[in-house]
Symmetry: D2
Subunit: 309 residues, 4 copies
Amino acid sequence: MEDLQALLDDIHTTLSARDDKGKVATYIPELARIDPAHFGIAVIGVDGTEYMAGDAELPFSIQSVSKVFTLTLALGKHGDSLWNRVGREPSGTAFNSIVQLEFEKGRPRNPFINAGAIAVTDLILSGHKPREAIGEIVNFVRFLSGDDTITTDQAVAKSENATGFRNFALAQFMRSFDRLDHPAEHTLGVYFHQCALAMSCRQLAHAGLYLAANGRNPVSGSSVVSRERARRINALMMMCGHYDGSGEFAYRVGLPGKSGVGGGILAVAPGKASIAVWAPGLNDYGNSLLGTAALEILAKRTGWSVFGL
Amino acid sequence: MEDLQALLDDIHTTLSARDDKGKVATYIPELARIDPAHFGIAVIGVDGTEYMAGDAELPFSIQSVSKVFTLTLALGKHGDSLWNRVGREPSGTAFNSIVQLEFEKGRPRNPFINAGAIAVTDLILSGHKPREAIGEIVNFVRFLSGDDTITTDQAVAKSENATGFRNFALAQFMRSFDRLDHPAEHTLGVYFHQCALAMSCRQLAHAGLYLAANGRNPVSGSSVVSRERARRINALMMMCGHYDGSGEFAYRVGLPGKSGVGGGILAVAPGKASIAVWAPGLNDYGNSLLGTAALEILAKRTGWSVFGL
Amino acid sequence: MEDLQALLDDIHTTLSARDDKGKVATYIPELARIDPAHFGIAVIGVDGTEYMAGDAELPFSIQSVSKVFTLTLALGKHGDSLWNRVGREPSGTAFNSIVQLEFEKGRPRNPFINAGAIAVTDLILSGHKPREAIGEIVNFVRFLSGDDTITTDQAVAKSENATGFRNFALAQFMRSFDRLDHPAEHTLGVYFHQCALAMSCRQLAHAGLYLAANGRNPVSGSSVVSRERARRINALMMMCGHYDGSGEFAYRVGLPGKSGVGGGILAVAPGKASIAVWAPGLNDYGNSLLGTAALEILAKRTGWSVFGL
Amino acid sequence: MEDLQALLDDIHTTLSARDDKGKVATYIPELARIDPAHFGIAVIGVDGTEYMAGDAELPFSIQSVSKVFTLTLALGKHGDSLWNRVGREPSGTAFNSIVQLEFEKGRPRNPFINAGAIAVTDLILSGHKPREAIGEIVNFVRFLSGDDTITTDQAVAKSENATGFRNFALAQFMRSFDRLDHPAEHTLGVYFHQCALAMSCRQLAHAGLYLAANGRNPVSGSSVVSRERARRINALMMMCGHYDGSGEFAYRVGLPGKSGVGGGILAVAPGKASIAVWAPGLNDYGNSLLGTAALEILAKRTGWSVFGL
């Protein structure tokens, strides 16, 4: 393998020069204003070494990448009974589709499409007030990344709360099947805050390091999940982490990953490294265009694909 | 890692004792007669060492496992233009669903659901008579496994041709969208023969070895596909190899795999081994019940999951 | 034609004796308490003559029958521009299905399924506060039936507002496609009140008389809609008035009709009579079981089917 | 009502002048060659009086209009057990959609979409060879219209047999659910011949006269079906006769009708007249554009709509 820092610099230079940067998401007004020219990448090896290039320390809205952390948190609180609420299969439909929910009586296909993540958040809310649940999620992400400065962007959370009609539809629909325990306003209040978490690539890569290192954060020394659970979360990220573009991501990159509409992607090279990349422009599936391209180059040049050298 | 032969023996003993062996497929009359008590497993390391237990040398109908080999063959003949005919995403529906085909104008979601495999077979048929295409497929599988005794079971092929109405529906439907080049009778004539290939676990594991060894069969020394293509075929197997149970297989086993309705599964541990297992009883998704259980135990005890040690 | 009063008495006697009265709707708690033994029928001829049998003067919750009146009101206010918001085709799906809404980008198939009726109510709300819109609807129904004592049942409206998650999902979903102008809470506040209108068969039959008499109420002498619009509303009732049981109703009864989950049905025999029937038990499509049976007998014995003598 | 002949002449003149004549169906090669300028209309009163304008005596391919006659024939042979094979509800989807068939396990929604008509034809085939069944259908239509010169256009039948992949898909799909008793080739052989019946507007209006006259052909004096069955067939035509444009046809025309992709429409004014119109250009739903317009004018000026004067 070539020198990793030189590789990141090369990826940054190559991709920054591309004209087609994809389209910044417009359905959340606050996100629509982000400059599509941003590009950051951070790789943390399982030995804790950091490699970075570009805007790797600039915070962005992690959006759906947060679903990996709330799933981890909810599994810790509820164990495998969580799977009574949500499945483990790719959806074959868009991130916000409601069709599958009707055919499958309100049970979302997996925890990484919107409906599934809302169901997971509803579990975290159990026995809490929304504000407490938000606090618990923020604290958990701070713990994962070892960085107490991480916060949620209130303007983004508010913006989503005012315009997230589709998410309200998903929540109300699940509630009509008795699949949520709390009023849609409460569950979504928490959900929109978790999506509004602002993190840099560096912070995000640190937060995901436990998934690359068999469940234990090698920097802090904390045990986050069991070895088996880390493996399983990685499997879910591989199968469902990029909505209806998950097959394409597996084909091109070959790493478990989770994307967010803010342009961030967290990818995991098991036993090797945690990787976070950010480029705000999206492809047709709602995944970062240049972020995916960066990971494709990185996986090819490092041989980190889980599917062969 | 423990001793592999002892592990296979242990898996064989443990699973043979289970009462619930799943249900043998009944929709193909010839397959309905198979004794559900059969169980075989074969593992071939990338160094060529063989490990076997149970009915590992008894031939069975490999059915959809053949789709891995026809995809490999068709990619060799047509290159990436193959992807104009078929996608690379999980389907989110049953193996024989026609709904997605209507919504997506006759383009199957991936080469491992029935419609997609039929589209791939149609490409192999290009410029050939059906009989020649069947010969080419049989020869290719013999080449992959290094075993010239492999044949198709004519009774099974005939049985499927007489009762495979759903596959005829899929083929005619694709033809109505101009997605097949040949009459349904011709393409399905070839397709039913490839599904009727009779192979033992040992033969099947040998045939899949190139996928565990970066595209090259280390036993014969033959180069089958490029390193990159091997990786990509593995990715497709992981994402789509078990129909609408692919997520569950990834979650439990964590290896690229392809199942057949005859009860066989081919699984790949990249860089380590090729594995074939056979147990005729199926679970609700049409995948081998005990075969999946065997692979779950094997992956756990060997640490071969691609998602972490 | 036989004597109409004797016929109604006969229908009442015959159907009251039936054991299978269908199932009272349970998803609205207030409706679940209604005694399934109620049965009422009222026929008002276009000359104004009244015929009644059973509980014809007992008010019940008209629920979706109200959609005929709100459609009439909204067409009066917005004219044919209403059809930009909602289609005119049978849905082929259940009354509360959301699947079609996703496939057709938030435009409901017709004004008589829930989503379509909510879109119509949203138009009535234009320029009003919810309370004013409710008042306008109540006044319009009083005007149609010539009876100022008609009111909404506040307990039913409140009950639906607290449990109508599916309707909230439909409204939020349409709002995500910019198909509603008002917050879901406002539009549904009005919608639940229109559904909670409490009317007797006698009042309901009077209210629908304009549809049997070319748009003009022959009792009050008021012109309600044009001749052409009356015809068109009747056509819509025939095609879409009984959700996914509309074909069955046309086949058996042969009259334009609109059912409600409270067990009421308004049917129109153009040029002859307006008919209201009430029996709270429902069939599998959510339409009154005995009410449909009553109308089938009535249509057969009177020869009022629009499809032939 | 104004003078009927003058009205037809006026309709003919008005519509012939229209520039937008719709698009002639191209998916059946033989039909693609028809001149879109043709326009014919024939009205036969229940007293047997004939009114005609334009190309009313020129034969055209009646295509799906034949489904009314095969339904009538099959009901005569099998009675209401026919409804075990096919439903009575509008489909909410296109004429050749296969999606509903999968969701409803191979049972077509109604006898007027392609799948349903194929299921009806399969019943007519019972106990016959295909050639005999074709003969029986031709003879039945000759009997209905009182005209022994009616034949099928072999070139059209052959053309459809060679290119009707979608219909083969529908048939094979139903057969996979055991919903057809005969090989797809046999059932479709008959089906394509019934669709290829060549009739003029005059012949077609005569053939449909029994539906306007309570089941009895007043010209020949023959009893075709019971009064009740005539009514029910009319109801089915109203609800399902124009595929996913049935609601629009009911709204605009208000008469039971059945369209064919050859540009013909048979409409029934119960108790008044049988009407056939032909104009080859189609609208977006596959129904004759000018034919529908002609019927709308006719219904409006005669007051024949079943939904009010």
